[in-house]
């Protein structure tokens, strides 16, 4: 289903389109938003921008051509910025500055890439394949990689994610980073990419190095942010293999990761709010004081590592199967190394929380249902999406349909 609206600049139109890929992304956004909505109210500015970001995310999901995609993508970047600096501390403002510098540079590259592509091929809708100069694709990929937090341009993530309020961290990690990957997938959908060896190398490096850094980070939310960098690099890695099954895995990983990492960040927010815990080393006994929260945290961690039958495993399996089919051994190794690293940075948290003695005893302080339910729901979604992966209408089916629509 497509809808062509205004002509924004000569020969480029606002163009909306609903296909499997977009529907999957939009649905993910919608459900994740439902999860982050409960919780303490934070004022008019926050609520308004949160709603605006939601609309813009849907816009990214339903964009029907490159221009519309970029438009919503940039507006989303800007709308998210006040949310990141919502706490107004000096640290938050510094993080916001860095975030802006990164995403705007990325935006400039994207715009340049769009210009090059437009000169060569006119209005690039997502329905037809076009021939464009390699430079345009490279620029666009580079622009998207800023948001996708690939290694040399990942710098905003570890600063912005921990500093934002917990629901915003959840959205940033769950969806903002994903918009970059989503953009890359859209690119592959319409243009024949140049050899993607560089993308493979970069994303492989990102998976491994970010994972290693995460294992050595004590700040809980920052560790989760590094984990996002590492985990979301799976998607470009899957893209770069140029295999349909791997691509489907990459697409479904966006959805699965969104719920898992979103849930983890919400848990981190609850830990901070109710126990004042920011650092992994202070988490001893946290599970005894917040058993439900940490239970969800544990389950989500296991999902992220890729323990079957949770959803993280499904995406890893599908990506891996595609890589194996394509004979891409190195990406496959990287994929599994990433999972091992995920265990290395997540399991110590879980172990400390459940088994280590607490620094101080206290009563159980699991949050009230309205804030607890989203976390539990994220965990439940992780299970359901894992076990029911093959059901029709579930993300995997949509992702496969989307990948079928993509050549190459």
């Amino acid at each position: 289903m497509e809808s062509i609206l205004f002509e924004i600049v000569p020969e480029l139109r606002l163009h909306l389109r609903f296909d499997a890929l977009g529907v999957l992304f939009s649905a993910t956004a919608g459900i994740l938003w439902l999860l982050v909505l409960p919780g303490p109210r934070r004022g008019r500015r926050y609520e308004a921008l949160l709603a605006l970001s939601f609309v813009l995310t849907l816009g990214v999901g339903t964009a029907g051509n490159l221009l519309t995609l970029l438009m919503f993508y940039e507006l989303l970047s800007l709308a998210a910025w006040p949310l990141i600096i919502h706490d107004e501390t000096a640290e938050a403002l510094a993080a916001g500055r860095r975030y802006l510098a990164y995403v705007l540079t990325g935006a400039a590259m994207l715009l340049l890439g769009l210009a090059v592509v437009t000169l060569a091929a006119g209005d690039v809708g997502f329905g037809t394949r076009v021939e464009v100069p390699a430079l345009g694709i490279v620029l666009l990929l580079a622009g998207f990689s800023v948001k996708a937090a690939l290694l040399p341009v990942h710098g905003w993530v570890p600063q912005a994610h921990p500093i934002a309020p917990a629901p915003i961290s959840a959205l940033l990690s769950g969806l903002m980073v994903a918009t970059g990957s989503f953009g890359m997938i859209r690119l592959i959908q319409v243009m024949d990419p140049p050899p993607l060896a560089i993308l493979t190398g970069v994303s492989a490096l990102t998976v491994v190095l970010a994972g290693v850094v995460a294992t050595r980070t004590d700040h809980l939310k920052r560790r989760l942010a590094w984990s996002t960098i590492s985990q979301m690099a799976y998607v470009p890695l899957a893209i770069s293999v140029l295999d349909r099954e791997a691509l489907a895995g990459g697409i479904v990983h966006i959805t699965h990761h969104a719920f898992m990492k979103g849930g983890l960040f919400l848990c981190a927010g609850l830990l901070l709010h109710h126990l004042g815990i920011r650092h992994v080393s202070r988490m001893g006994g946290a599970a005894r004081r917040m058993p439900w929260t940490m239970g969800a945290f544990t389950l989500l961690s296991l999902g992220l590592i890729g323990i079957p039958p949770l959803s993280g495993f499904v995406s890893k399996w599908v990506i891996g199967a595609g890589m194996a089919q394509a004979g891409a051994w190195i990406p496959l190794t990287v994929l599994l190394t990433g999972a091992l690293l995920a265990a290395l940075y997540l399991m110590p948290i879980v172990h400390t929380a459940w088994f280590d003695p607490p620094p101080s005893e206290g009563p159980q302080v699991d949050p009230p249902p309205p804030t607890l339910i989203p976390v539990l729901a994220a965990a439940a979604i992780t299970i359901v999406l894992g076990i029911g992966a093959a059901l029709p209408g579930f993300p995997l089916a949509l992702a496969r349909a989307a990948a079928r629509g993509i050549g190459g």
């Binding site: 290693v212 850094v213 399996w317 891996g320 890589m323 194996a324 091992l340 093959a390 059901l391």
Partner: protein
């Protein structure tokens, strides 16, 4: 459908054939035995000191154990009945997680449990890689990785390191489950891989060699243990080696029979040791003795299980070992190593039974003397676990048994006479300032030097001797096979 098809996500398929039935029935039987034992053999919410000593851990252990053990059995059955590799893998990983909780319930089991977890995780990833490779059409490398992944679970030789620690630190019923049931899932996997026509021939020889090496090496390590549970754990390494030898050599029926034997006998022995610990609060051989008087049923069952494991010719259990042995005929060197392993097994079991149940009584604790082995339920649990062994058969392979028994007795007596007097191996501690100061990469915290120091010392103390021994055994095996 062969259980070795890769499968696809979200679709769970199951299959039933004679092999699955074999493994499943054994699982269920031993599971029942362990549960019955645990009803009495582990403390309830108000557990006292003896329960702690039995490896029961903190209060409320029984509930937690049952909560973990039941899904464990389910997962084992899932592995066994899985109709494709993906389904198998799902249950395999669940099993690994549950195993962590089983081990973690033991006292002082933190290190062992964590080690177990990481080993299983890496093993799982290797397995996953193998499955994906096989699915992608690379059958050869895929099979290698599959073997490695299953081998980790089974305690195959080069990747067995987690097993002695985990099995000896876990509470007794958990050890029985681990040794009796869980490592069998690994063996099940290896069995499936090697019986698959797509698997390269070369891997049979590899498994055979590794099995043989493991059999001998485990037996030797078991012989010098002074902790009953550690002894049994090393014996498990040895027995897994025996089974793998059989699978590698093509003696499949014998191997399956021996799987049954080992599962049952090892479960009984672990439970028996658990019962002893329940009464006497220790599993150190030096602190025990003369218990046949106070725990005759336990003694009898242990003896029975021990005989079965040794290959006593009047039991059906011996048939498996005999077949494995026959498969080796014509390869004198392999036969020699196998003989060494068999004799080692005899020596180990003699040592265990003799040190614990015979000799002068060392702990006449009046408070616990009254109850036999901690109640009828624990005894019943042992009996149920021993059921598979209660199957008489015509004598097979009598001379071989006599020979191994004789050699084993000599071995045990030798150890008895001189062994404890051997000075323990001492590793000189490293001179301080030995470590090289590593520059920390930017943005990362510096590697703490004390930790490095500890790691190196640990390597020197624990791993290096193992590696040396392993190397010698492997060298011998290779030499022999030529």
């Amino acid at each position: 459908m062969s259980p070795l098809t890769p499968g696809s996500v979200g679709r769970f398929t199951f299959t039933v054939d004679s092999v699955t039935i074999h493994f499943a029935s054994l699982t269920v039987l031993i599971g029942i035995g362990v549960f019955v034992f645990a009803l009495r053999g582990m403390s309830g919410p108000s557990g006292g000191g003896t329960a702690r000593a039995a490896g029961g851990g903190r209060g409320g252990t029984r509930g937690r154990f049952l909560l973990t053990a039941l899904p464990t059995l389910g997962a084992v059955l899932g592995v066994v009945f899985a109709g494709d590799l993906l389904t198998l893998f799902v249950f395999f990983e669940i099993l690994a997680l549950l195993g962590f909780f089983l081990v973690r319930q033991g006292d002082g089991a933190r290190g062992a449990a964590i080690r177990y977890f990481w080993t299983m995780l890496v093993g799982g990833l290797v397995l996953l890689a193998g499955i994906l490779l096989r699915g992608g059409g690379a059958s050869g490398p895929g099979s290698v990785l599959l073997l490695l992944g299953f081998g980790v679970k089974a305690g195959m030789l080069p990747v067995h390191g987690w097993l002695p620690a985990a099995h000896s630190k876990a509470p007794a019923p958990a050890s029985a489950l681990l040794s009796g049931v869980m490592i069998k899932t690994g063996i099940y996997g290896i069995f499936r891989v090697l019986t698959d026509p797509a698997t390269p021939e070369m891997l049979h020889a590899t498994v055979f060699t590794l099995g043989l090496a493991g059999a001998a090496y485990g037996a030797l390590r078991a012989l010098v243990q002074s902790d009953a549970k550690r002894l049994l754990a090393w014996s498990s390494v040895s027995q897994v080696g025996v089974i793998l030898t059989g699978i590698g050599a093509g003696a499949w029926e014998g191997s399956l029979q021996h799987v049954m034997t080992h599962a049952s006998a090892k479960a009984v022995l672990f439970l028996a040791v658990g019962a002893v610990a329940l009464r006497h609060g220790t599993v150190q051989l030096a602190g025990l003795g003369g218990l046949w008087r106070t725990m005759p049923v336990t003694f009898a069952l242990s003896l029975f299980a021990g005989l079965a494991l040794m290959g006593f010719p009047l039991l059906r259990a011996s048939a498996g070992k005999a077949e494995i042995h026959h498969a080796l005929e014509g390869v004198p060197s392999a036969e020699a190593v196998f003989f060494l392993a068999s004799a080692g097994t005899v020596a180990i079991l003699l040592k265990l039974i003799a040190e614990v149940f015979l000799g002068p009584a060392r702990d006449p604790d009046p408070a616990t003397r009254a109850s036999e082995i901690g109640g009828a339920l624990t005894a019943l649990g042992l009996i149920i676990a021993a059921l598979p062994l209660l199957h008489p058969a015509l004598p097979t392979d009598m001379p071989y048994f006599v020979a191994t028994f004789g050699a084993g007795t000599v071995l045990y007596l030798t150890w008895r006479r001189w062994g404890p007097a051997w000075p323990p191996v001492r590793i000189p501690s490293l001179p301080s300032g030995w470590t090289v100061p590593l520059p920390a990469p930017p943005g990362l915290p510096a590697l703490p030097e004390a930790r490095l120091q500890r790691a190196v010392e640990r390597y020197a103390r624990e791993i290096a001797p193992n590696l040396a021994l392993l190397f010698v055994v492997l060298l011998a095996v290779v030499f022999v096979l030529r």
